[in-house]
């Protein structure tokens, strides 16, 4: 059984009173996520990521198409017992404390009082809010709110976790913690489906990603598949090279940058590494590092978005957002 599958899932909004003015938020989206995967949903703001998540959670209803979560169709609220959800920009009840709120969340999931207490304690510990357990939520910072949001998403120990922009509002330490958390969830065999517009996170965490723009699926697969495994360039860093060295490597070099006593050379991607090394060493260079630079998701993204924008502009179908990473 798949964790999640959508079939031609479409969401069309009617803007204002006139039937003519419509916005296609999601256009015939078809994808599947296997259990145990960490799946990333990527795209610029307004691409339809949050729309998809809200459709899956039953907060809004599809115009056409269908989806299943753990084999259950949309609208079956019982499956919510096995999933968790962190909304984008979560907001809670100002008058409750963190542990009161987790208690409420646990109660709604059917946990008994003892289990709720235990789970609340453990989760607050896990997300680093143990000291703020008795603090009223109105005094929480954005980062604390985000962590609590993750905690409440896990209160029922779900099999599938849906996270909408889980890193938002967190400082680098917090983001690191969330990354570790996601990896930990995967280790436990859970499925994690999260949306983000921060690409490096997706690159390091996701087994597979889907790229969305203007409600349409632009690409789906492992990061490897999407990038095609091609190299963008080779990076060679030398320590204080003599002019002769640079000359020897000039044939391979496409760009060079000097910073202090280091020179970073960008070599053509099809350059033969052994030949380059031999030439460098022969010229007496002091090599600090030699790295292949793969095409990043970011580059792919910007390129595809640019294409999509160009196509959309060409079709004359309303202005879109330029790709924003």
């Amino acid at each position: 059984m798949r964790a999640l599958e959508t079939t031609e899932l479409t969401k069309e909004y009617r803007l204002g009173f006139w039937p003519k003015r419509r916005k296609l938020a999601l256009d015939r989206l078809t994808l599947a996520v296997e259990q145990g995967e960490v799946f990333g949903l990527l795209g610029p703001n307004g691409a339809g990521k949050t729309t998809l998540l809200k459709l899956l959670l039953g907060l809004i209803f599809p115009t056409t198409g269908a989806a299943r979560i753990l084999g259950r169709p949309l609208g079956d609220v019982r499956v919510h017992a096995r999933i968790g959800y962190l909304p984008e920009n979560p907001s809670f009840y100002d008058h409750l404390t963190a542990s009161e709120f987790l208690n409420y969340a646990g109660w709604l999931c059917g946990l008994d009082a003892a289990a709720r207490r235990r789970r609340g304690r453990d989760l607050l510990e896990q997300v680093g809010l143990a000291e703020s357990a008795a603090v009223a939520l109105r005094r929480f910072s954005k980062g604390m709110v985000q962590r609590l949001g993750i905690a409440q998403a896990l209160v029922n120990d779900p099999d599938v976790v849906f996270l909408d922009e889980p890193m938002s509002g967190l400082d680098p330490l917090g983001r690191r913690e969330v990354r570790d958390l996601i990896l930990d969830l995967r280790r436990q065999g859970k499925t994690v489906f999260f949306s983000t517009h921060i690409l490096p996170d997706a690159e390091t965490l996701c087994d597979r990603v889907a790229i969305l723009n203007h409600g349409r699926l632009l690409g789906l697969g492992t990061v490897q598949e999407i990038l095609g495994g091609s190299l963008e360039s080779i990076e060679l860093i030398l320590h204080d090279p003599a002019p002769g060295v640079l000359q020897a490597l000039a044939a391979f070099t496409t760009a060079s940058v000097r910073t202090g006593d280091r020179v970073r050379l960008e070599l053509a991607p099809d350059a033969d590494v052994e030949t380059v090394l031999a030439a460098a060493l022969h010229a007496g260079a002091r090599i600090i590092s030699l790295n292949p630079v793969k095409a990043s998701l970011e580059d792919y993204f910007l390129a595809r978005i640019k294409d999509a924008v160009a196509t959309a502009a060409g079709k004359g179908a309303g202005g879109g957002e330029a790709g924003r990473a």
């Binding site: 809200k54 907060l59 959800y85 709604l108 059917g110």
Partner: protein, 258 residues
């Protein structure tokens, strides 16, 4: 059941933190105490005026509280998106509506009980002792509470459709109309057209009959409500509340939470 109880308890606790409620209850008790003055300024109606003013205060402030909590507590939940936290758990939309309704009713009962306690304190101060005829106001309070339950259900219904201000206006308008159903019917009866007669009769049967729960003046004269009337009116309130809450559920189940 458990989930509905969770939502109801949570709603009640949230309303308890509303400062506005405290102010309203305090004002109500002040108004009740003012009944002592009214009796003193007038002649021969000390107890009557006290009961009239006290029960009217409980009714009016209860109405304000009902409209306020019925609208704000749900609207806030939807506007601030805290409802996402609830509906992402295994909670049906119907359970959410039911839980909210029961929590609001619980709040109303507690508030009304406090105001009634204040009322009886003032009555006891005025009369020195309390006897059997002083139960009549308690029955009137029960009828007021039935009214408020329907009001809060109406407010809940409207607040799932429209903005808070409009919801308040519609709810209060429905309260006024619901007190004038006899006039509605007679207006139609006096008009020439059979269609208007039929329409006004139909409306007067379908719209909530708030006027039927009016019992303040008789209570001021120590008149008790006959038992069968208490039963029929309780049944009517239960049935109509079911109508309102079911409508709310049907609407809310289709509502997109953007």
């Amino acid at each position: 059941m458990n989930r509905i109880a969770a939502i109801a308890v949570h709603t009640f606790k949230e309303s308890v933190r509303e400062k506005v409620l405290y102010n309203l209850v305090v004002f109500a008790i002040l108004m009740i105490a003012a009944g002592l003055i009214l009796g003193g300024v007038s002649v021969g109606i000390n107890d009557i005026a006290l009961v009239n003013l006290g029960l009217s205060a409980i009714s009016v402030f209860g109405l304000v509280i009902a409209v306020f909590i019925g609208i704000s507590l749900v609207w806030k939940e939807i506007e601030r998106r805290t409802v996402y936290n609830i509906l992402s758990k295994p909670v049906a939309r119907a359970e959410f509506v039911l839980g909210k309704f029961l929590g609001l009713v619980l709040t109303l009962v507690v508030n009304t009980a406090i105001m009634t306690a204040g009322f009886y304190l003032v009555l006891w101060y005025e009369k020195g002792t309390l006897g059997a005829p002083d139960l009549a106001p308690l029955e009137a309070v029960y009828f007021i509470l039935l009214q408020l339950t329907l009001i809060v259900a109406v407010a809940l219904l409207f607040s799932t459709i429209s903005s808070p201000v409009l919801s308040a206006v519609f709810t209060l308008s429905l309260y006024v109309i619901g007190n004038l159903l006899d006039d509605l019917r007679s207006l139609g009866a006096q008009s020439g057209s059979a269609a208007l007669r039929g329409l006004s009769r139909a409306l007067s049967l379908v719209l909530p009959d708030f006027g039927a729960f009016g019992d303040i003046a008789p209570a001021a004269h120590g008149q008790l409500i006959p038992g069968h009337r208490i039963l029929t009116h309780s049944l009517y309130a239960a049935l109509y509340a079911t109508v309102l809450v079911s409508s709310t559920i049907l609407i809310f189940e289709r509502r997109e939470l953007r």
